[in-house]
Symmetry: C2
Subunit: 546 residues, 2 copies
Amino acid sequence: MYKIIGTWKKMSKNENEQITLGSVLTRSGKLFQDKPILSIFSNKRKEYTYKDFYKRSKSLASFLLKLGLKKGDRIGTLMHNHHIHLEAYFGIPSAGLVVHTINIKLHEDDIAYIINHAEDKVLIIDIELLSLLEKIKNKINVKHIIVANYDLQSTHSYIDYEMDVMLTDPDDFMFPLIHENDVAGMCYSSGTTGKPKGVVYTHRNICLYTIVSSGSAAFNLKDSDIVLPLVPMYHVNAWCLPFMAIYTGCKIVLPFAYNGAGKLIELMEREKINFVAGATTLWYDVAQELEKRNFTHSLTKNVTVNLGGSSPSKETLLTLLKSGIKVIHTWGMTESTPNGLINKINKEISPENIDEIAENLTRQGIPYPFMEVKVERNGRIVPQDGKTMGHLLIKSPWTIKSYFKGEGQDSFIDGFLDTGDVAVVYPDGYIKIVDRSKDLIRSGGEWISSVDLENALIAREDILDVAVVACPHPKWGERPIAFIVTKKDSHLDKNLLKNYLMGQFAKWWIPDDFIFVDKIPRNPTGKIIKKTLRDTLSNYNFTLIS
Amino acid sequence: MYKIIGTWKKMSKNENEQITLGSVLTRSGKLFQDKPILSIFSNKRKEYTYKDFYKRSKSLASFLLKLGLKKGDRIGTLMHNHHIHLEAYFGIPSAGLVVHTINIKLHEDDIAYIINHAEDKVLIIDIELLSLLEKIKNKINVKHIIVANYDLQSTHSYIDYEMDVMLTDPDDFMFPLIHENDVAGMCYSSGTTGKPKGVVYTHRNICLYTIVSSGSAAFNLKDSDIVLPLVPMYHVNAWCLPFMAIYTGCKIVLPFAYNGAGKLIELMEREKINFVAGATTLWYDVAQELEKRNFTHSLTKNVTVNLGGSSPSKETLLTLLKSGIKVIHTWGMTESTPNGLINKINKEISPENIDEIAENLTRQGIPYPFMEVKVERNGRIVPQDGKTMGHLLIKSPWTIKSYFKGEGQDSFIDGFLDTGDVAVVYPDGYIKIVDRSKDLIRSGGEWISSVDLENALIAREDILDVAVVACPHPKWGERPIAFIVTKKDSHLDKNLLKNYLMGQFAKWWIPDDFIFVDKIPRNPTGKIIKKTLRDTLSNYNFTLIS
């Protein structure tokens, strides 16, 4: 490598202006004054404008600082997707504080752990989650509790968001000077094992990600778009769609929570949504529903769906594409604000190419700009052959270099984050995740993708759910074992499934056993808890297989 | 103002990954390998791919570093718009060097001054500009001269870009570690008075501007776009369109130089251009040409035109809009990489609203994201009434805070750059430039916009060109005087023009005199040299006016 000799002489006194969320809030609040933001609650619709949003975010910021909080103090939020959570997304960081979004679906002990670990000084909680608060109240130590009282009920002895916080004069608030490397937000990553770890986002992380991701390299949002952040706002900043939408000046529809495919389709039709981001699993339901309705609906005119979180099946993608939906497949993680890879269709879809396009869309895609990606095995970059698997490592301006309080140091290698995913790289540079590193089956020095086997099995009409896990083997190290949930009245047996897979995989990939079960254990976010399944195999005896 | 008490405790060891042009080059070179870049020379077309561009940019970088250049050394370019200049745009900064683009239209003495002032170590010059080099050769002190030999002629004793530079093995080159605050580029601002001043761009300036400007807040480029950078690449980085295009993965057509409206229309039709950026003046010609051809052409299907550099007349905008062209009006300056304001149409155009839309598009627009804008007079922000004029001050992550070598310090006030423009702000937040500060006519404590008067006069069929300047007046301080170039056979007189303007302006705005001349003096970039006109008025006697 060529080495630059000498030092750089500063040519000018150019100091950088900072890119901060307060700057985004101010511009959009002033320029898109009349643009609407709509929250949909179970019993009402609440619509207001960017101007209201801007003023209320400032009231929140002012109120919090008047409580005596100091720069960098964490404010925990336990809220669904609605305008008050959006105000927290912008008002808290604009005050120099940290918006710490907490996953309300976690076990109450984990929630208490997270609040204590983050040292949250204030909690803002949905009024309908007060029963959750009662359960954790004695285990945590926060100074103030604010209730997002969108139902205007009694909030007992707690601070009322509408009656107390919003009384603060927004004009009283001046934005404090914030550096882009100051912390703006915080999330805990929901691992399937171990305690959750804190992920800290700076203003720079979020702003850079927002600009890049709303722009030409990713979603190409326009201020005429009507967007639906379907990813919960307590989950990785709802994939930052709220930030991108406010930055761009889109109309925003906040759905509170996902309520099933049927209701989602109706909502999208009614509100004329043309951009929506949500987890892959839920688009499986939508695809089913669309097929059931014979595609007779106006939903899919001009709608872009961003899916991610887990690999979509080709079948789901085909159904979505057939119904005219534009699909953008992204891959990301809490640790990366979130996205690192993106797969967009850049040609016209026709009956001739739709199958190939769906197949290609199952891949997670190409790296985002400024995202460095390595797929390596034993420290060497794998060839771009679409076959050789390696560990996926990433580095970018919005990927963390350490967890909060320095935990989980073994995830970082030479400045890169080990994503825990295993991937292959295709000749065209596209990357496909084939497994989680810990779920990979290492058999006789070779790697077997549990996900590939699962995808092949779930494609069968007679299988409802499936999980393939590694089982310790005296000779091969590990061998794959499949757990199968069959559909009612299906007549499946082991040999039938073996023969079925034989046609698609090398012989040594075929699971040694197929165990029929009633249910596959999954965590609150829908991921298979493979550890539980592996535990049931601790005394498994390979010699007994017929 | 609320003051944050206490200090920020660093929560994590998050070091920032840098946003640099080398990172953009590498990603696009690898991911958009097969995308074409087309250069159009007078006698041939040269088409190659992003892959070739990437390799050749690396060869250039490697060659320059092998010459022994050090980080931050300036490389001057004297080139038109073609692929070699594009390679310089990326190859030079990726090597940790500074690409200093020099305006070839300046007087040779100014060019020599600029090269010496920037301390350029190397020059890269078009083969057809060797006669210019002969004129300045003895006045400058550069170590190496490289000739962009696209014609494969003899380059005499100079280094031949094709035969020498491109022989360097690109695989030999590894990108040096560059900080985003390192300098990437340099331009001299072409003032109408005084010596040119150096403007220095960091990687951060250019990259941030590129991401924001290619994205949702501005041009919404897509990798399916075919773009034409018409602004000369020696003028403010061709408004950064080459950077945006490579970042996005667009097909790029480099036209060498502007060759008249007719040829431009043919070029755009032939190459299926759908995004083009060029100076306002040239779109006046195009509008005329389109009208002449009765709009019978395929050019204007799906074409977006970005114009700027001077205020477009409503008539020109109307013609462009009528022919189906989408117009984006931007305002910027060399000192701001360049854009600070943008005006996009965000509704469907119909016969009912086209007039209003054209009128609104004459305004320079709303601030870019992260752009702080103040319009003030005597240190106070002017009301948003669309009438009260004030000085336009700006501050942003891509606006300089000082000139090279600390010159021109009086342009900076409290971290803001005084743009030298005078503007009004409308109730909807849109800003309109009404004059240059130095061209404004200050009459009896009030301000009169010379540009408004010029626009009203040029709208007449019988006027070819016009300039309104301030003339010192014993009682009022200054009064406006108009210089008029009439069309052949027109029968204009002073009273006729006075009465014409009376209908549109307050009485005290009407110029005291109308002087008929053969020609209005303009500088190489088309700006009126008002100083020359003012000088002719130094002994003007107001009492003689009839």
